[in-house]
Each structure stands twice: as structure tokens, then as C-alpha cells.
């Protein structure tokens, strides 16, 4: 028997959802200030209108439904999944009002891509977009990278166990500090320190390559926010090709790698445990996977003679592979070059890199390296069980912040999530083929959307079918939240209809 959710469930969900929406509305004030400062009046009005609507909705929700209890698991998960949908619908408002998106659906697609730090875009004439709107796109990356619900709660809520449920609901389950709110605040601290350092280094590099100082620092801040949060958005339509600078690419690559490291690992390193970098299963697996997949891509590129010099092959191939593996999606080649020039082998290398993704408890998407590491350890354990005498006790250990004995429960959870990701990649690819795109193109774009990468081979375009846009939006959402919150939301609606 399915139990229908009670009025208290709905009140609790509405209250916390309202709080998160108020948080979103308040962040819209930042582009208003930037817009007024740079004398962009109409863009400032776009954000004022959107902020007013967002704040009103948030206040009505909290007003109408005062929470009496802390969130339980179901409510926490639903708040998270709904807050991402609300962020998409409301975050799209200023984008749509700017006139740079052909439809509200396109603006929603972009907003979902922004908050899930994917990087697929449908913006028109990006090179003439206002600073305020450009800032919103990158600020959204920064907020989405940390997690919308947890960002709002780290400012509005003082110590609540419900916050932990939302933290888990946003695809993270590692606490750096005993209190999840303090964990969220520490994540903010890390991100802001890196933001300052990253903006400075990119800004100075920008000036050295001939950009105007103000522009250089604005681009530096934008590229940092989108790079560290593995979103891959850029203020210009050419992505990183705009800068024509190897140094700029190296710094951006370093920022992307910093972004995919587990926040727990950052915490350990910040407090002096530097050896953890070399001992941790995730960093080891990332190095092995990056090297292996680069070799595959490099062989593919070399066989076709795409880049006549080894230095060029390394610069283009390695950068694109890091960009894919970190699920950032910055491009130093044009979208159609992947299809027309890179060939199948290099494309497969890149697709695998995107599918695996970065570290757990980071801003990256994809299956996650930790899961691949656990899967391989479990495989090793099973092989040992077969080889060794039946009476031998076989145990497998892995090092992730501390030494952990591998349990069947962990392996089951890893395999479940991995299979769900593979299913999501395939579903998007089938949808792409349904609309007439070739297999490899469809798989590339689908993996990019579901792993929140943002590399494109040219399918993502304002002219693509609306059903495919909605498919990619769902993939971005489900991929970012690592499924559970989405399933709970679906279950909630079923219970509401069929429950007693």
C-alpha cells in the first residue's frame, strides 16, 4: 500500500523550497548592481523584474507554509529536486527577457545547463551579451557547483539535520566537518580563496596577452567560476579559442583539475596532509584514467594526422581530454571539428573521459572516479576469491581520506549508480538517433549532457527539436543530482495520485 503524503509533508517542503527561492532571488541583485555600475539599464531591469518575481514566490511559499519539524529524508530529497527545477524556471527569466534566447524553453535549457554546470548553450549572439547577463551565467555556475540548496541553507539555516539530507540529495555524502552547514561554509571558503587567486592569475595573463584590464579581470572571474565549477561557460562565443594563448589554457586546465578534486581532499591538504594527494584512490585513478584515455585519443588523432606536430597534438588533444574528463567542456577546437576531423577512436576516448567524470564530493559530474576505483577493487577481490583456496579470507582495502575495507554494500551502491548513468547516456543517444543524428554524434552529445560536461559536436543548437532539448535538460538534472532525488520526486507524485 502506498501512503499519500500528508499536508505536513507539503508544508515542510514548501517552506524550505521557499527559503531556497528567496536565496536565488537575492543573488539576482548582484547582476543588478553590476548592470547599473556598467550603465546597462535594460539588463538591470531584466534582473529587477526577475528578482521581484522570484522573491515574491519564495516569500509566499514560506509565508503560506511554516515548517514545524525538521526535514525527513523524503522531504529533503524532494526539496532538492524541486529547488533545481525552480532555479531553472526562475533563473531563465532574466535570460529570456534579454532577447538573446529564441524561446523560454531555450532560456530554461541554458539555465539548467548553468546551474548543473554543464556548459551546453543555446544563447544567440553571445558576443553582444551584456556584462550583467554574462555575470549571471557564470555566477550561476558558481552557485550550482556548490549546490543550490546547500548554498541557500548555509546562509539561512543555523544547524539542522535536514540540511544534511539536502546535502546528500545534491549528490554529495561526505562531511568535512561534523556539522553539514559548517561543511558547506568551508566549501564556500575554499571556493572564494581559489576565486581570488584564479581571477588574479587569469586577469594578469589576460592583460599580458593584450586584453583591456577591466575586460581581462572580468573574463578572469568568469572563466574561473566556470572552470573551477567545471561548467565550461565562457563570455565569448569562441570559448577558450578567443584568447589565442597557451598560458591561458594551462592556467584554465589547472583550475579545472582543482575543481574536480574532492572537497575533502582540499580540506586535508589545507590542513597539512599533503601526502593524501598521492595516496588517495581518486587522484591515483584520475591520473591512470587520464593517461590511458589520452593515449587512446592521441593514437586516434595521430593515425588520421589531425595535428602534424606532437606539440600541437598534445596542446589540443590533452586540453580537450582534461576538459572532458573534468566535465568542464571548454573547447579549443570548433564543435564540428570533433566530427569532421577527430575520427572515431579519439571521439571514443573523449566520450569515455566525459562518462567517467571527476571526483566525488566535487563540482564535477559523470559516474565519478571513486566509483570506477571501487568497481575495479571489487573486480580484483572477486578474481582473488577465484584464484585463492576457498578457505582463504579475501579482503580488499582502499584509501580514500582513510583506509576503508571494501564491503558488498558499497559495491552494490556503486554498480547501481554506474548502471543508471550508463542507462542515462544510452537513453539520450537513442533520442538523438530518433531525431536522425548519427550514432557517435548522438552518444557524444548525450554523454556530455548527462555527465554535465558541455562539450558539443554541434547537435546542441537553437534549431534542434524541442523534445531533444527536454531530454538533455532531464539528463543534466538527473545526472547532477545523481538520480536519487529525482526518483524520490517521481515516487512522491505517484504516491500523491495513487496513495491512500
Amino acid at each position: 500500500m502506498i501512503l499519500r503524503p500528508g499536508i505536513n509533508d507539503i508544508k515542510n517542503i514548501s517552506y524550505y523550497l521557499g527559503k531556497i527561492i528567496i536565496g536565488l532571488g537575492l543573488t539576482m541583485i548582484i547582476p543588478v548592481i553590476i548592470g547599473l555600475f556598467s550603465q546597462e539599464i535594460n539588463p538591470s531591469l531584466d534582473f529587477l523584474i526577475s528578482a521581484a518575481i522570484t522573491l515574491s514566490i519564495g516569500m509566499i511559499l514560506t509565508w503560506a507554509s511554516r515548517a514545524k519539524e525538521d526535514l525527513d529524508w523524503m522531504q529533503g530529497m524532494i526539496v532538492v529536486s524541486l529547488s533545481w527545477l525552480a532555479a531553472m524556471l526562475l533563473g531563465a527569466l532574466p535570460l529570456y527577457l534579454s532577447g538573446h534566447w529564441k524561446s523560454y524553453l531555450d532560456a530554461c535549457f541554458e539555465a539548467m545547463s548553468i546551474f548543473t554546470t554543464t556548459g551546453l548553450v543555446l544563447v544567440q549572439d553571445l558576443d553582444h551579451l551584456s556584462l550583467a547577463h554574462n555575470l549571471w551565467r557564470h555566477l550561476g555556475n558558481f552557485i550550482g557547483g556548490q549546490g543550490i540548496a546547500i548554498v541557500a541553507l548555509s546562509f539561512f539555516v543555523k544547524g539542522t539535520s535536514g540540511a544534511f539530507k539536502m546535502y546528500v540529495g545534491e549528490g554529495r555524502d561526505e562531511r568535512l566537518l561534523p556539522n553539514v552547514i559548517n561543511t558547506a561554509r568551508f566549501i564556500w571558503l575554499i571556493s572564494i580563496v581559489y576565486l581570488i587567486l584564479g581571477t588574479l592569475s587569469l586577469g594578469i595573463t589576460g592583460i599580458s596577452i593584450g586584453m583591456k584590464p577591466m575586460n581581462a579581470f572580468f573574463h578572469g572571474a568568469c572563466i574561473f567560476m566556470a572552470g573551477f565549477d567545471t561548467a565550461g561557460f565562457a563570455p565569448q562565443s569562441q570559448s577558450l579559442l578567443y584568447y589565442h594563448s597557451f598560458l591561458f589554457e594551462i592556467i584554465t586546465a589547472a583550475i579545472m583539475v582543482f575543481g574536480i578534486l574532492n572537497f575533502n581532499l582540499h580540506y586535508q591538504v589545507w590542513f597539512g596532509k599533503r601526502k593524501e594527494i598521492w595516496k588517495n584512490i581518486e587522484t591515483r585513478m584520475f591520473f591512470i584514467s587520464l593517461t590511458g584515455l589520452f593515449l587512446i585519443a592521441a593514437i586516434g588523432l595521430d593515425k588520421l594526422g589531425v595535428y602534424p606536430k606532437a606539440v600541437m597534438l598534445f596542446r589540443k588533444g590533452f586540453f580537450q581530454l582534461i576538459s572532458g574528463h573534468t566535465t568542464t567542456g571548454y573547447m579549443t577546437v570548433y564543435a564540428r571539428q570533433f566530427i569532421n576531423e577527430w575520427g572515431n577512436l579519439a571521439m571514443v576516448g573523449l566520450i569515455c573521459a566525459m562518462a567517467i567524470g571527476g571526483c566525488s564530493c566535487s563540482t564535477s559530474g559523470g559516474i565519478k572516479i571513486l566509483r570506477i576505483g571501487i568497481f575495479l577493487k571489487a573486480l580484483k577481490q572477486d578474481i582473488k576469491r577465484i584464484i585463492l583456496p576457498e578457505r582463504a579470507a579475501v579482503s580488499q582495502m582502499l584509501h580514500h581520506i582513510k583506509d576503508i575495507f571494501l564491503e558488498d554494500r558499497q559495491v552494490r551502491s556503486v554498480l547501481l549508480i554506474t548502471l543508471l548513468y550508463i542507462g542515462l547516456y544510452i537513453t539520450g543517444a537513442v533520442m538523438g538517433m530518433w531525431f536522425g543524428y548519427p550514432f557517435l554524434d548522438s552518444l557524444f552529445e548525450s554523454t556530455s549532457a548527462a555527465a554535465n560536461t558541455g562539450l558539443t559536436c554541434g547537435i546542441t543548437d537553437a534549431g534542434m527539436p524541442a523534445a531533444l532539448k527536454i531530454t538533455y535538460m532531464f539528463q543534466m538534472w538527473a545526472g547532477r543530482l545523481e538520480f536519487m532525488s529525482v526518483f524520490v520526486l517521481i515516487g512522491f507524485f505517484i504516491a500523491e495520485i495513487k496513495g491512500r
Binding site: 531591469l45 558576443d127 553582444h128 565569448q236 569562441q238 589565442h244 606536430k309 570548433y334
Partner: protein, 164 residues
Amino acid sequence: MMKNIIFTFLFIVAAFCCFCYAEEAVSSAELINNAKQYDGKVVIYKGEVIGDLMMRGEFAWVNVSDGVNAIGIWANKDLVKGIVYTGSYKSKGDRVEVKGVFHRACLEHGGDLDIHADLLRKTDNGVIIGKTIDMAKKKAAFILLGLTGLIMILSRLKKIRRLG
């Protein structure tokens, strides 16, 4: 004799001009989709200058957009002297016509797809875009902000009444 020389000279000049300017410009999509075919060939490309003019010693990078894609143009700094406006939110950039060698994967620039300009001429002047305030948006903003303020006050009053 003199007449023949002048006639021949004029004919050569006219032929040269025709060669230079009668060639059709190639679009960015055409170049990117058929990069191997155009690699190393002289092409004509037209578009709007966008973003920063990035000076690099005796040369400069100019990003030129034809409305679909933007392509990097590597040009001698003397060629870009005449560029005044570059495309951004506040301005429409100068429109230029570039004649130069197209590279699918430039040996000099780490494999970038670019054009090394031999000629670059401005075809249209850019302009500062005067933005008038959208009155409908202004009205909507005022009404909605008023509504937000009202909800905020009502919400506060409800809280005070409950606590009181």
C-alpha cells in the same frame, strides 16, 4: 606605342583588382566544415570585429564573427590600425574583409584554426549602440517591486501577530 603600354598597364591593374575583390567571401561554417579542403589556401572572410584587439608584438589577434562563428585573424599590427569599434553589448564592431591564408591546424599557433591575414580592410564602420530605456520593463519592474514589498510587509505583520 605609349598608348599600348598605358592600355596594358590599365588592363593588368583592372585584372588584379578583379582578382582581389571579385572573389567570393567564404563563411565561417564553410571554412570549419570543410577545413581540410581550405587548409593552406588563400580565402576571403568577412565579418564583424568582436571583443578585444590583442596586440602581440608586431602582430595582433583580431576575432572576426560572421554571425555564426568567430574566427581568429592573425594580422600585422599595421593592418589593424584602422579598427576603432569592436563588438560588445555597447557597440557594433567595425566590419572587415580579410584576405589571407586559412589554417586548419596552424603550425605557428599550436594547432588553432585561424587565418593569417595578408590584407585587412574595413568595409563598414562600427557604431556605439544607443540603448533607450525600455519603458514597459521599467513599469513592470516598479509594479513587481511594489508587490514584493507588499508581500514582505504582510509576511512581517503575520509573524509579529503570531509572536505577539
